[in-house]
């Protein structure tokens, strides 16, 4: 029942978001007809194309038409390329998803051990170093960090290529070398956030009675940290990871531009430049759906981590 309620609520969010973006995109100056035919086209040919594309219909009708198609899995056809938007998105999505997953692996792989170590010796050298490092990382714009990493690893040491993408289906090794630098760039900033969150929650958990009692039973500090304290301290971290994943589906555009990756973010930006409304709109749907799906997934993970959340 609660699940249904939440689902309904998220569906409403989805409709509102797509409607807002649909209206916004159409209100903004610029016109796909001009984009396709150029400024010198006759009024007659413009009107014909307008009719052909369905742009002569009122905004609301167009939106409902599009929404109806979406319900059947049809994202529409691009005004500019005349290609189905869905196919285009499907081609780009794996790149973005791989980047996101790799970045989360980097971020969590660093954040969990560092956060645990810092919490264990709160206030000591390692903890203070983490505070300083996370502050510095949070203050580094992602493109600055990316440029620095490219300068070091691709230009100076030449260990990985600076830009370009090899698909996973082509060659695993090349795929990994092309994803590692973007993933590290994206993951570093998140590592800082995650490590701080985990550290704060762990410090709070370590004050709990059940931790003192675990010590009173003569268990080793390592066992207490990893088996007793980590899981109850993970809820905020999981929320942050979820929110990040949701937010980043459309937010990797800078990384994709910097490293020349053919992902969804790049597609959206290119479509914005070419006034390809329906492709942009498709990207918006993807981002919103991503948010909804991640929200659900996070709820499921909560239940797995904390039995108190499970429904009886």
């Amino acid at each position: 029942m609660i699940v249904l309620h939440r689902l309904a609520r998220l569906l409403v969010v989805l409709v509102v978001v797509t409607f807002l973006s649909f209206v916004l995109l159409n209100l903004l100056p610029g016109d796909p007809v001009t984009q396709i035919l150029g400024l010198s086209a006759t009024e007659e040919s413009r009107a014909r194309l307008r009719q052909e594309l369905g742009l002569d219909q009122p905004l609301l009708v167009r939106y409902l038409d599009w929404l109806g198609g979406l319900a059947g899995g049809d994202f529409g056809t691009s005004y500019i390329t005349r290609m189905p938007v869905g196919a285009e998105l499907a081609e780009r999505l794996p790149v973005t998803l791989e980047l996101l997953v790799a970045a989360q692996i980097v971020a969590l792989g660093l954040a969990v051990p560092v956060g645990v170590a810092a919490a264990r010796r709160a206030g000591r050298a390692l903890d203070q170093a983490l505070t300083a490092l996370s502050f510095a990382l949070l203050s580094t714009p992602v493109f600055v960090l990316g440029v620095l990493l490219i300068l070091l690893f691709a230009v100076t040491w030449r260990v990985v290529p600076a830009t370009g993408w090899t698909s996973l289906s082509v060659d695993l090794g090349w795929n990994l070398t092309s994803v590692v630098l973007p993933a590290v760039t994206l993951g570093c900033g998140q590592f800082a956030v995650y490590a701080r969150l985990l550290r704060t929650d762990l410090i709070a958990t370590l004050q709990e009675d059940y931790i003192t009692l675990a010590r009173a039973r003569g268990l080793s500090p390592r066992r207490i940290l990893w088996r007793h304290a980590l899981r109850p301290s993970a809820i905020t971290l999981i929320t942050a990871v979820g929110l990040n994943l949701g937010a980043l589906i459309g937010g990797t555009v800078i990384i994709e531009t910097l490293f020349g990756l053919p992902g969804v973010g790049r597609l959206i930006v290119d479509s914005i430049f070419s006034r390809d409304y329906l492709t942009v709109q498709g990207g918006v749907v993807l981002i919103s759906v991503g948010y909804v799906v991640v929200n659900f997934a996070v709820d499921l993970v909560y239940a797995a981590v904390d039995p108190r959340i499970r429904r009886a």
Binding site: R9, V13, L28, F135, G218, L219
Partner: protein, 628 residues
């Protein structure tokens, strides 16, 4: 402790000032204009004439970075002011007139989170034209929801506080409350967020510029400079490094100042202040014979070095305990009972200093390191805490938790540990122990949970069981059951029990010996029956009177000990209890009474009670419940 801003913040503020000044005075600074080509040889590295070098067209990079600061800081200031100007009134309104707006704000929040802000920004700037005004407006508008949330949160936390509620009740007009009470308090979080918002906007503008969607060439922007510099990375890395470093330092500075401002007002800050370990000077202990008993505690002390002074939580406590006996430690809250237990077990926070000795079968535990202590803690000393609600790990099953000590200390196999756990749970009176193994703590009642913690404490067959207020958090009917259980288990397993309680009537029935604690010291001790029958120290007498009895008439007035426990960092001269003692005389204020020499029933008091008050009462109730 006074909070200080610290050196780094002044450095950060200095950097912000420098960048701001340079941006303002860019036209008067002695370098080539940002668009003057061939001001020096192209792609030349840093030199005296061009401190940041020159770019591919021979333009001065320093000049371009300084002019770029105009755009970054200009957009930053404008967008923050716009966000503040729109967001603050909305936020205050939402926080102050809560009910109507809460739902709206939640809904907007949901949409805002799912809405791709970056796509929106890109689209608007791309379609409406990439110029300073559009970038500023877009980034300003995108910042509004965060401002509303922040200001609403700050307003809410003040709108509920006593002084605002009081003003409302007194009929002060809303506008006056807003201006006089709420606004000044919201100002500091707003100022802090203004700095952090600057950092966010500078990064966002940089991102747009990096994508070519901010102020257009030839006007330089930081993001644009970095994007341009990328192409020269192989031959002239300084072109990309200079704006990168300046941008990083600027964003860092804004974040730093904002964060410290926030920390100034945030009282919840956990563990961020560095904890300095005190110089661990061991407290001196006089020599003494090591006796042939199970547990011998000699002159145990636990002191905390705090900014207010040394807190003597436990101050020279000694006792001995044999197998099959129960020692009760009683005293009001804050008298040092629990700290005494933790001190014996060596489970003190890092900021404490311990002195004295704890002998277990003649071995000095205070000489043990943490690694040597672990097998002792796991196998020979068992512990039960006051609150069973917090004593079990909420995310692990009962089975995992009961089996853990068996697996770790006794090296049992999973199957053996399981069988043993079932037996343990059965022995503490848990019905259907096999099913219990798969349950989680939140599915159990308080009494059941306490039985589980007792089972865990007993799992490795300890020699001594420390029970720190084991029944205080339970309701009265369960209390008796749990105490009877402890008593039975003591006999079955031939252990010694240390029972801590603030409730004298509870321990009266189950203890063999009693220690009464006040302000970290033992003030009276003796055989349980004797101490209850003839309390000598007025404090013990008040404790006895403070305990409500079943024989009290209905609507009987609850007696409490007048006054408050003393400040352990600043103990009064003389007897620590004198200020609250109805029998205190001048001598009590001047000289601390020592524990009397009487080995049978010593007490620390200059004017002891004759000790007959509670005799009749306790004897009857005691005998009564023991027989039940």
């Amino acid at each position: 402790m006074r909070r200080r801003l610290g050196f780094g913040v002044w450095l950060a503020a200095g950097w912000i000032g420098l960048v701001l000044l340079a941006a303002l005075l860019a036209d008067f600074l002695p370098f080539a204009r940002y668009d003057e080509t061939l001001a020096g040889p192209p792609q030349s590295g840093p030199s005296a004439a061009h401190p940041f070098g020159t770019d591919g067209l021979g333009r001065d990079v320093l000049s371009r970075v300084v002019y770029g600061a105009r755009v970054s800081l200009g957009v930053g200031l404008g967008a923050v002011l716009l966000g503040l100007g729109v967001g603050a009134p909305l936020g205050i309104l939402a926080g102050y007139r809560r009910r109507a707006t809460d739902a709206v704000i939640m809904a907007v929040n949901d949409v805002a989170q799912a809405f791709p802000a970056l796509v929106f920004a890109l689209a608007v700037v791309a379609f409406a034209g990439a110029n300073l005004r559009n970038v500023l407006i877009v980034l300003g508008v995108l910042g509004v929801p965060s401002w509303v949330r922040l200001i609403r949160g700050a307003t809410l936390s003040f709108a509920e506080r006593e002084f605002v509620l009081a003003a409302r009740v007194l009929g002060t007009r809303d506008r006056r409350i807003l201006w006089r009470e709420i606004l000044p308090n919201v100002a500091v979080p707003a100022a802090s967020y203004a700095f952090i918002g600057m950092a966010v906007v500078v990064v966002a503008e940089g991102s747009l510029a990096f994508l070519g969607l901010s102020v257009q060439a030839p006007t330089p922007t930081w993001g644009g400079l970095i994007n341009e510099g990328r192409t020269l990375m192989e031959t002239a890395p300084h072109v990309v490094l200079a704006p990168s470093v300046v941008m990083f330092l600027t964003v860092l500075s804004f974040n730093l100042v904002g964060d410290r401002l926030r920390a100034l007002t945030d009282v919840r800050e956990i563990g961020l202040e560095p904890v300095r370990a005190p110089a661990a000077l061991p407290l001196p202990t006089p020599t003494h014979p090591v006796r042939d008993t199970l547990l011998q505690v000699e002159e145990l002390r636990t002191h905390f070095v705090t900014p207010r002074g040394v807190v003597k939580a436990v101050d020279g406590v000694s006792f001995t305990l044999d197998r099959g006996r129960t020692l009760a430690i009683v005293g009001e809250s804050g008298s040092g009972k629990s700290m005494l237990i933790r001190s014996v077990l060596g489970l003190l926070p890092g900021t404490s200093i311990r002195g004295g000795h704890v002998y277990l079968s003649g071995d000095d535990l205070t000489a043990y390191g943490p690694a040597e202590m672990r097998p002792v803690l796991g196998r020979r000393l068992g512990t039960v805490f006051q609150d069973p609600m917090t004593a079990l790990n909420p995310v692990r099953t009962i089975g995992t938790q009961v089996m853990e000590p068996l697996r770790v200390h006794l090296r049992m196999s999973r199957r053996q540990a399981r069988a043993e756990a079932v037996e343990l749970l059965a022995s503490v009176g848990i019905p259907d122990p096999v099913r219990m193994l798969r349950r989680y703590p939140h599915q159990l009642s308080g009494g059941m949970r306490q039985r589980v913690t007792i089972a865990m404490a007993l799992s490795c067959r300890p020699d001594v069981l420390f029970a720190d207020e084991p029944t205080t958090a339970l309701d009265v009917t369960i209390q008796a059951q749990v105490l009877r259980l402890l008593h039975r288990l003591r006999a079955e397993r031939d252990m010694a029990v240390v029972l801590v309680s603030h409730d004298l009537s509870v321990v009266a029935q189950w203890a063999d010996e009693v220690i009464v604690m006040y302000a970290g010291k033992v003030v009276e001790r003796g055989p349980a029956a004797e101490v209850f029958a003839r309390p000598r120290m007025p404090y013990t007498e008040s404790l006895l009177q403070a305990a409500p009895r079943l024989t009290d008439p209905v609507h009987h007035r609850l007696r409490v000990i007048p006054g408050r426990p003393p400040d352990l960092a600043h103990l009064p001269a003389g007897c620590a209890f004198h200020a609250r003692c109805p029998y205190a005389r001048e001598r009590c204020e001047l000289e601390p009474p020592p524990l009397s020499e009487d080995h049978h029933h010593p007490y620390a008091c200059w004017y002891p009670r004759p000790g007959t008050t509670a005799e009749q009462d306790v004897r009857t109730t005691g005998a009564d419940s023991r027989g039940r």
